[in-house]
Symmetry: C2
Subunit: 142 residues, 2 copies
Amino acid sequence: MKFKLILSFLLLAPCFVAFSQENQSVKSEKQGIAVADKGLIKISVMYPFAEGKTFNMEYYETKHMPMVAGYLGANLVKYTIEKGLSSGIPNQPLPFLAIGTFYVKSLSEYQAAVAPNRDAIRADFANYTNVVPVILVSEVVK
Amino acid sequence: MKFKLILSFLLLAPCFVAFSQENQSVKSEKQGIAVADKGLIKISVMYPFAEGKTFNMEYYETKHMPMVAGYLGANLVKYTIEKGLSSGIPNQPLPFLAIGTFYVKSLSEYQAAVAPNRDAIRADFANYTNVVPVILVSEVVK
């Protein structure tokens, strides 16, 4: 009788652990916390708006970004794309048409992956934009 | 005997569910997929670098951003902070000292939340920077 009780408890113990772990994951997802981002290196490719400048978001999203992401391998944690809508300051022009970012674990690995492909990447710009981008390397604080 | 078997199975069934749910959450977190971001509105407050410009990241992270986040309520999905390290283009100056972003569900709700607090937000700038920020409103594509 006592043995069966202990056995049942041992069988159920991992389940309690699973429940508590699941709740933590669900909770952090619901809070929108990307717990893996802090400390990562982020490369932001930012396309400034100006009169006469164009940007093909469909090509950028379906062709260009996946191509560059493919060069980066496992060092790439994720990439993001945003489409500029307006300035947040009244009467100011749109600052950027679009921004694409890469979150990587190692900056030197990123640079090593990009270097042999730099010409291909630059040549592909003409397929979606006539803007010369600004590129920011930053560290994710939060 | 059969009853005890069925009872044990019923007790363990939720545990299998918990295990499978936990794996899915852990998997999507490990993939770094922020499944909730696409379609959100993003407000990026970007502090350009220039000679003589300063930025106090500790105050920004511990005081200013939480203060503004507090004004935004449930409309705010998450906020992020990054610290500028360098340009990604050789021999180009650092584009931005720092960028703080807010991911919200509704732009109009964001604007309505900020409007009565605009003076307080602007007054707080002096506590961490002498840079006038650029503000971008964008839509998250990916």
